[in-house]
Symmetry: C2
Subunit: 192 residues, 2 copies
Protein backbone atom coordinates (compact mmCIF):
# COMPACT_ATOMS: atom_id res chain seq x y z
CA UNK A 1 0.00 0.00 0.00
CA UNK A 2 2.74 2.42 1.04
CA UNK A 3 4.72 1.34 -2.00
CA UNK A 4 1.94 2.38 -4.37
CA UNK A 5 1.81 5.80 -2.74
CA UNK A 6 5.56 6.36 -2.74
CA UNK A 7 5.80 5.02 -6.26
CA UNK A 8 3.25 7.58 -7.34
CA UNK A 9 4.96 10.47 -5.55
CA UNK A 10 8.35 9.53 -6.92
CA UNK A 11 7.09 9.95 -10.45
CA UNK A 12 7.35 13.66 -9.63
CA UNK A 13 9.96 14.11 -6.88
CA UNK A 14 12.40 11.86 -5.02
CA UNK A 15 11.82 11.12 -1.33
CA UNK A 16 14.21 10.75 1.61
CA UNK A 17 13.50 8.27 4.41
CA UNK A 18 12.71 11.17 6.70
CA UNK A 19 10.08 12.43 4.30
CA UNK A 20 8.54 9.01 3.94
CA UNK A 21 8.22 8.69 7.69
CA UNK A 22 6.66 12.15 7.88
CA UNK A 23 4.07 11.23 5.28
CA UNK A 24 3.13 7.98 6.99
CA UNK A 25 2.84 9.73 10.36
CA UNK A 26 -0.07 11.71 8.94
CA UNK A 27 -2.29 8.64 9.16
CA UNK A 28 -4.08 9.19 5.89
CA UNK A 29 -5.15 5.73 4.81
CA UNK A 30 -8.83 4.97 4.89
CA UNK A 31 -10.97 2.05 3.76
CA UNK A 32 -14.49 2.63 2.53
CA UNK A 33 -17.28 0.16 1.74
CA UNK A 34 -19.15 -0.01 -1.54
CA UNK A 35 -22.23 2.22 -1.50
CA UNK A 36 -20.93 4.63 1.13
CA UNK A 37 -21.11 8.36 0.44
CA UNK A 38 -17.92 10.32 1.03
CA UNK A 39 -19.31 13.76 0.35
CA UNK A 40 -22.84 15.10 0.06
CA UNK A 41 -24.21 18.12 -1.74
CA UNK A 42 -24.16 21.13 0.53
CA UNK A 43 -21.31 19.88 2.71
CA UNK A 44 -18.22 21.96 3.32
CA UNK A 45 -15.05 19.94 2.90
CA UNK A 46 -11.66 20.44 1.35
CA UNK A 47 -10.63 16.81 1.41
CA UNK A 48 -8.64 15.38 -1.46
CA UNK A 49 -8.83 11.71 -2.35
CA UNK A 50 -6.26 9.48 -3.93
CA UNK A 51 -7.46 6.04 -4.96
CA UNK A 52 -5.13 3.18 -4.07
CA UNK A 53 -7.72 0.49 -4.74
CA UNK A 54 -11.34 0.52 -5.90
CA UNK A 55 -13.50 3.09 -7.65
CA UNK A 56 -15.27 6.24 -6.54
CA UNK A 57 -17.57 8.49 -8.54
CA UNK A 58 -18.60 12.12 -8.58
CA UNK A 59 -22.28 12.77 -9.23
CA UNK A 60 -24.89 15.46 -9.12
CA UNK A 61 -28.58 15.12 -8.36
CA UNK A 62 -30.45 17.29 -10.85
CA UNK A 63 -34.26 17.22 -10.87
CA UNK A 64 -34.10 14.10 -8.71
CA UNK A 65 -31.86 12.31 -11.20
CA UNK A 66 -28.33 11.18 -10.57
CA UNK A 67 -25.82 12.51 -13.11
CA UNK A 68 -22.42 10.90 -12.87
CA UNK A 69 -19.67 13.10 -14.30
CA UNK A 70 -16.46 11.35 -13.27
CA UNK A 71 -14.98 8.06 -12.09
CA UNK A 72 -11.73 7.71 -10.19
CA UNK A 73 -9.90 4.39 -10.09
CA UNK A 74 -6.44 3.18 -9.06
CA UNK A 75 -3.86 6.00 -9.14
CA UNK A 76 -6.45 8.71 -9.81
CA UNK A 77 -6.60 11.86 -7.69
CA UNK A 78 -9.81 13.68 -6.89
CA UNK A 79 -8.98 17.27 -5.98
CA UNK A 80 -11.31 19.32 -3.79
CA UNK A 81 -13.85 21.71 -5.26
CA UNK A 82 -13.19 24.50 -2.85
CA UNK A 83 -9.55 25.44 -3.24
CA UNK A 84 -10.23 29.10 -2.72
CA UNK A 85 -13.99 29.52 -2.83
CA UNK A 86 -15.04 27.99 0.45
CA UNK A 87 -18.46 27.20 -0.96
CA UNK A 88 -20.56 24.11 -0.13
CA UNK A 89 -20.28 21.20 -2.54
CA UNK A 90 -22.69 20.99 -5.46
CA UNK A 91 -22.00 17.31 -5.95
CA UNK A 92 -21.76 13.96 -4.20
CA UNK A 93 -18.90 11.53 -4.01
CA UNK A 94 -19.83 7.90 -3.67
CA UNK A 95 -18.09 4.54 -3.53
CA UNK A 96 -18.70 2.27 -6.51
CA UNK A 97 -16.57 -0.54 -5.02
CA UNK A 98 -14.87 -1.28 -1.71
CA UNK A 99 -11.98 1.16 -1.65
CA UNK A 100 -8.67 1.95 -0.06
CA UNK A 101 -8.13 5.69 -0.26
CA UNK A 102 -5.73 8.33 0.88
CA UNK A 103 -7.55 11.30 2.30
CA UNK A 104 -5.87 14.62 2.94
CA UNK A 105 -7.05 18.16 3.47
CA UNK A 106 -5.59 21.58 2.79
CA UNK A 107 -4.23 22.02 6.33
CA UNK A 108 -2.18 18.86 5.99
CA UNK A 109 -0.98 19.89 2.57
CA UNK A 110 0.05 23.34 3.71
CA UNK A 111 1.95 21.86 6.64
CA UNK A 112 3.71 19.36 4.42
CA UNK A 113 4.42 21.95 1.74
CA UNK A 114 6.08 24.30 4.20
CA UNK A 115 8.13 21.50 5.81
CA UNK A 116 9.19 20.00 2.49
CA UNK A 117 9.30 22.55 -0.33
CA UNK A 118 9.60 19.83 -2.93
CA UNK A 119 5.96 18.99 -2.21
CA UNK A 120 4.97 22.33 -3.58
CA UNK A 121 6.72 21.34 -6.81
CA UNK A 122 4.98 17.99 -6.86
CA UNK A 123 1.59 19.61 -6.32
CA UNK A 124 2.17 22.02 -9.17
CA UNK A 125 3.29 19.25 -11.50
CA UNK A 126 0.34 17.09 -10.55
CA UNK A 127 -2.13 19.95 -11.01
CA UNK A 128 -0.67 20.82 -14.39
CA UNK A 129 -0.80 17.22 -15.49
CA UNK A 130 -4.38 16.77 -14.33
CA UNK A 131 -5.36 20.03 -16.01
CA UNK A 132 -3.86 18.94 -19.33
CA UNK A 133 -5.60 15.56 -19.12
CA UNK A 134 -8.87 17.18 -18.19
CA UNK A 135 -8.68 19.59 -21.12
CA UNK A 136 -7.95 16.79 -23.57
CA UNK A 137 -10.87 14.80 -22.22
CA UNK A 138 -13.16 17.80 -22.49
CA UNK A 139 -12.08 18.50 -26.07
CA UNK A 140 -12.57 14.88 -26.98
CA UNK A 141 -16.04 14.97 -25.49
CA UNK A 142 -17.05 18.14 -27.30
CA UNK A 143 -15.84 16.99 -30.68
CA UNK A 144 -17.43 13.55 -30.72
CA UNK A 145 -20.85 11.90 -30.71
CA UNK A 146 -22.14 9.67 -27.88
CA UNK A 147 -21.34 6.62 -29.99
CA UNK A 148 -17.77 7.79 -30.62
CA UNK A 149 -17.39 8.56 -26.91
CA UNK A 150 -18.48 5.06 -26.00
CA UNK A 151 -16.14 3.46 -28.55
CA UNK A 152 -13.37 5.67 -27.24
CA UNK A 153 -14.10 4.62 -23.68
CA UNK A 154 -13.77 0.97 -24.67
CA UNK A 155 -10.28 1.79 -25.93
CA UNK A 156 -9.07 4.03 -23.13
CA UNK A 157 -10.76 2.68 -19.99
CA UNK A 158 -12.13 -0.80 -20.80
CA UNK A 159 -12.18 -1.68 -17.10
CA UNK A 160 -14.84 0.96 -16.38
CA UNK A 161 -17.39 -0.76 -18.62
CA UNK A 162 -17.00 -3.88 -16.51
CA UNK A 163 -16.94 -2.44 -13.04
CA UNK A 164 -19.51 0.36 -13.27
CA UNK A 165 -23.33 0.11 -13.68
CA UNK A 166 -24.54 1.10 -17.16
CA UNK A 167 -26.87 3.83 -15.99
CA UNK A 168 -23.91 5.56 -14.34
CA UNK A 169 -21.84 5.14 -17.49
CA UNK A 170 -24.68 6.65 -19.52
CA UNK A 171 -24.64 10.02 -17.79
CA UNK A 172 -20.83 9.91 -17.86
CA UNK A 173 -21.24 9.78 -21.67
CA UNK A 174 -23.82 12.54 -21.55
CA UNK A 175 -26.86 10.42 -22.46
CA UNK A 176 -29.74 8.44 -20.86
CA UNK A 177 -29.43 4.77 -19.88
CA UNK A 178 -31.95 3.74 -22.56
CA UNK A 179 -29.90 5.50 -25.21
CA UNK A 180 -26.75 3.73 -24.11
CA UNK A 181 -28.53 0.41 -24.28
CA UNK A 182 -29.76 1.15 -27.80
CA UNK A 183 -26.37 2.48 -28.86
CA UNK A 184 -24.68 -0.72 -27.68
CA UNK A 185 -27.18 -2.81 -29.63
CA UNK A 186 -26.50 -0.65 -32.71
CA UNK A 187 -22.74 -1.17 -32.43
CA UNK A 188 -23.20 -4.89 -31.95
CA UNK A 189 -25.31 -5.11 -35.10
CA UNK A 190 -22.74 -3.22 -37.15
CA UNK A 191 -19.98 -5.60 -36.14
CA UNK A 192 -21.91 -8.66 -37.31
Amino acid sequence: MKDILFGFIERYVSLTEEEKVAILSLDIFRTVKKGETLLKEGQLSDDSYFVLKGCIRKYYIIDGEEKTTAFFTEMDALTPHCVISNAPSEYFIGCVEDCILIVSNSDMQEETNSKFPKFEIMCRMLSEELLAKQQNAFDEFKTSSPEQRYLNLIQTRPDLIQRVPQHQLASYLGIKPQSLSRLRARIFEKKS
Copy 2:
Protein backbone atom coordinates in the same frame (compact mmCIF):
# COMPACT_ATOMS: atom_id res chain seq x y z
CA MET B 1 -0.49 46.81 -19.49
CA LYS B 2 2.06 45.97 -16.78
CA ASP B 3 -0.54 46.84 -14.18
CA ILE B 4 -2.96 44.24 -15.49
CA LEU B 5 -0.25 41.61 -15.30
CA PHE B 6 0.94 42.53 -11.82
CA GLY B 7 -2.63 42.87 -10.63
CA PHE B 8 -3.28 39.34 -11.82
CA ILE B 9 -0.15 37.90 -10.19
CA GLU B 10 -0.84 39.68 -6.92
CA ARG B 11 -4.14 37.88 -6.60
CA TYR B 12 -1.93 34.91 -5.68
CA VAL B 13 1.36 36.25 -4.27
CA SER B 14 2.77 39.68 -3.41
CA LEU B 15 5.63 41.08 -5.49
CA THR B 16 8.70 43.13 -4.56
CA GLU B 17 10.06 45.80 -6.91
CA GLU B 18 13.00 43.55 -7.69
CA GLU B 19 10.68 40.79 -8.78
CA LYS B 20 8.64 43.13 -10.96
CA VAL B 21 11.79 44.29 -12.72
CA ALA B 22 12.88 40.70 -13.23
CA ILE B 23 9.54 39.82 -14.82
CA LEU B 24 9.58 42.79 -17.18
CA SER B 25 13.15 42.04 -18.22
CA LEU B 26 11.89 38.80 -19.74
CA ASP B 27 10.32 40.72 -22.62
CA ILE B 28 7.16 38.68 -22.84
CA PHE B 29 4.62 41.05 -24.33
CA ARG B 30 3.43 40.32 -27.84
CA THR B 31 0.77 41.79 -30.09
CA VAL B 32 -0.99 39.58 -32.61
CA LYS B 33 -3.36 40.50 -35.46
CA LYS B 34 -6.81 39.03 -35.97
CA GLY B 35 -6.67 35.92 -38.11
CA GLU B 36 -3.10 34.97 -37.26
CA THR B 37 -2.32 31.44 -36.17
CA LEU B 38 -0.22 31.10 -33.02
CA LEU B 39 0.13 27.34 -33.07
CA LYS B 40 -0.50 24.72 -35.72
CA GLU B 41 -1.28 21.04 -35.46
CA GLY B 42 1.93 19.03 -35.47
CA GLN B 43 4.11 21.81 -34.07
CA LEU B 44 6.22 21.33 -30.99
CA SER B 45 5.88 24.20 -28.56
CA ASP B 46 5.55 24.64 -24.85
CA ASP B 47 4.46 28.26 -24.93
CA SER B 48 1.88 29.50 -22.46
CA TYR B 49 -0.39 32.42 -23.31
CA PHE B 50 -1.98 34.93 -21.04
CA VAL B 51 -4.55 37.24 -22.64
CA LEU B 52 -4.25 40.90 -21.68
CA LYS B 53 -6.55 42.09 -24.46
CA GLY B 54 -8.47 40.37 -27.24
CA CYS B 55 -9.59 36.80 -27.82
CA ILE B 56 -7.86 33.64 -28.95
CA ARG B 57 -9.35 30.23 -29.65
CA LYS B 58 -8.24 26.63 -29.56
CA TYR B 59 -9.50 24.47 -32.40
CA TYR B 60 -9.01 21.10 -34.03
CA ILE B 61 -9.41 20.18 -37.68
CA ILE B 62 -11.25 16.86 -37.81
CA ASP B 63 -12.27 15.46 -41.20
CA GLY B 64 -11.53 18.84 -42.72
CA GLU B 65 -13.84 20.60 -40.29
CA GLU B 66 -12.81 23.16 -37.70
CA LYS B 67 -13.92 22.26 -34.19
CA THR B 68 -13.47 25.05 -31.68
CA THR B 69 -13.20 23.78 -28.12
CA ALA B 70 -12.16 26.84 -26.12
CA PHE B 71 -12.01 30.62 -26.14
CA PHE B 72 -9.61 32.69 -24.05
CA THR B 73 -10.34 36.33 -23.37
CA GLU B 74 -9.01 39.01 -21.01
CA MET B 75 -7.34 37.51 -17.91
CA ASP B 76 -7.54 33.93 -19.21
CA ALA B 77 -4.51 31.68 -19.30
CA LEU B 78 -3.90 29.05 -21.95
CA THR B 79 -1.50 26.46 -20.57
CA PRO B 80 0.62 24.35 -22.89
CA HIS B 81 -0.39 20.86 -23.96
CA CYS B 82 3.02 19.31 -23.50
CA VAL B 83 3.94 19.77 -19.86
CA ILE B 84 5.67 16.44 -19.70
CA SER B 85 4.77 14.61 -22.89
CA ASN B 86 6.80 16.46 -25.47
CA ALA B 87 4.37 15.48 -28.19
CA PRO B 88 3.38 17.59 -31.19
CA SER B 89 0.20 19.61 -30.83
CA GLU B 90 -3.08 18.08 -31.94
CA TYR B 91 -4.77 21.45 -32.14
CA PHE B 92 -4.45 24.98 -33.51
CA ILE B 93 -4.49 28.28 -31.67
CA GLY B 94 -5.82 31.22 -33.62
CA CYS B 95 -6.54 34.89 -33.05
CA VAL B 96 -10.21 35.84 -33.10
CA GLU B 97 -9.43 39.54 -32.53
CA ASP B 98 -6.33 41.72 -32.44
CA CYS B 99 -4.62 40.70 -29.21
CA ILE B 100 -2.07 41.70 -26.64
CA LEU B 101 -0.68 38.57 -25.08
CA ILE B 102 1.96 37.46 -22.66
CA VAL B 103 3.90 34.53 -24.00
CA SER B 104 6.17 32.42 -21.85
CA ASN B 105 7.72 29.00 -22.14
CA SER B 106 8.80 26.36 -19.68
CA ASP B 107 12.46 27.44 -19.67
CA MET B 108 11.49 30.92 -18.57
CA GLN B 109 9.14 29.52 -15.96
CA GLU B 110 11.74 27.19 -14.55
CA GLU B 111 14.25 30.00 -14.34
CA THR B 112 11.79 32.28 -12.61
CA ASN B 113 10.59 29.54 -10.29
CA SER B 114 14.11 28.74 -9.11
CA LYS B 115 14.99 32.42 -8.63
CA PHE B 116 11.74 33.29 -6.85
CA PRO B 117 10.23 30.29 -5.02
CA LYS B 118 6.97 32.14 -4.52
CA PHE B 119 6.34 31.70 -8.25
CA GLU B 120 6.17 27.98 -7.72
CA ILE B 121 3.37 28.65 -5.24
CA MET B 122 1.58 30.92 -7.66
CA CYS B 123 1.83 28.33 -10.45
CA ARG B 124 0.37 25.67 -8.20
CA MET B 125 -2.49 27.92 -7.09
CA LEU B 126 -3.22 28.96 -10.64
CA SER B 127 -3.16 25.36 -11.89
CA GLU B 128 -5.44 24.24 -9.09
CA GLU B 129 -7.86 27.06 -9.78
CA LEU B 130 -7.91 26.40 -13.52
CA LEU B 131 -8.39 22.70 -12.88
CA ALA B 132 -11.37 23.34 -10.60
CA LYS B 133 -12.93 25.72 -13.14
CA GLN B 134 -12.32 23.28 -15.95
CA GLN B 135 -13.94 20.44 -14.03
CA ASN B 136 -17.01 22.52 -13.24
CA ALA B 137 -17.33 23.54 -16.88
CA PHE B 138 -17.00 19.92 -17.99
CA ASP B 139 -19.61 18.74 -15.50
CA GLU B 140 -21.96 21.51 -16.60
CA PHE B 141 -21.48 20.49 -20.22
CA LYS B 142 -22.11 16.81 -19.57
CA THR B 143 -25.24 17.36 -17.54
CA SER B 144 -27.02 19.77 -19.88
CA SER B 145 -28.51 19.91 -23.37
CA PRO B 146 -27.21 22.14 -26.19
CA GLU B 147 -30.04 24.57 -25.51
CA GLN B 148 -29.24 24.74 -21.80
CA ARG B 149 -25.56 25.21 -22.64
CA TYR B 150 -26.38 28.14 -24.89
CA LEU B 151 -28.65 29.75 -22.29
CA ASN B 152 -25.94 29.23 -19.71
CA LEU B 153 -23.37 30.85 -21.99
CA ILE B 154 -25.58 33.92 -22.30
CA GLN B 155 -25.50 34.19 -18.52
CA THR B 156 -21.84 33.44 -17.89
CA ARG B 157 -20.02 34.84 -20.95
CA PRO B 158 -22.42 37.17 -22.79
CA ASP B 159 -19.49 38.93 -24.46
CA LEU B 160 -18.51 35.75 -26.36
CA ILE B 161 -21.80 35.69 -28.26
CA GLN B 162 -21.04 39.18 -29.56
CA ARG B 163 -17.36 38.86 -30.41
CA VAL B 164 -17.17 35.34 -31.82
CA PRO B 165 -18.60 33.99 -35.13
CA GLN B 166 -21.61 31.71 -34.67
CA HIS B 167 -20.10 28.71 -36.40
CA GLN B 168 -17.23 28.78 -33.92
CA LEU B 169 -19.66 29.11 -31.03
CA ALA B 170 -21.59 26.12 -32.38
CA SER B 171 -18.75 23.64 -32.06
CA TYR B 172 -17.89 25.19 -28.69
CA LEU B 173 -21.42 24.13 -27.68
CA GLY B 174 -20.90 20.71 -29.23
CA ILE B 175 -23.30 21.15 -32.18
CA LYS B 176 -23.39 22.21 -35.87
CA PRO B 177 -23.87 25.84 -36.97
CA GLN B 178 -27.28 25.03 -38.48
CA SER B 179 -28.41 23.54 -35.18
CA LEU B 180 -27.32 26.63 -33.28
CA SER B 181 -29.22 28.79 -35.73
CA ARG B 182 -32.35 26.70 -35.27
CA LEU B 183 -31.93 26.54 -31.51
CA ARG B 184 -31.69 30.33 -31.35
CA ALA B 185 -34.87 30.69 -33.39
CA ARG B 186 -36.59 28.22 -31.05
CA ILE B 187 -35.58 30.19 -27.97
CA PHE B 188 -36.71 33.43 -29.58
CA GLU B 189 -40.13 31.93 -30.34
CA LYS B 190 -40.56 30.71 -26.75
CA LYS B 191 -39.88 34.18 -25.38
CA SER B 192 -42.60 35.80 -27.46
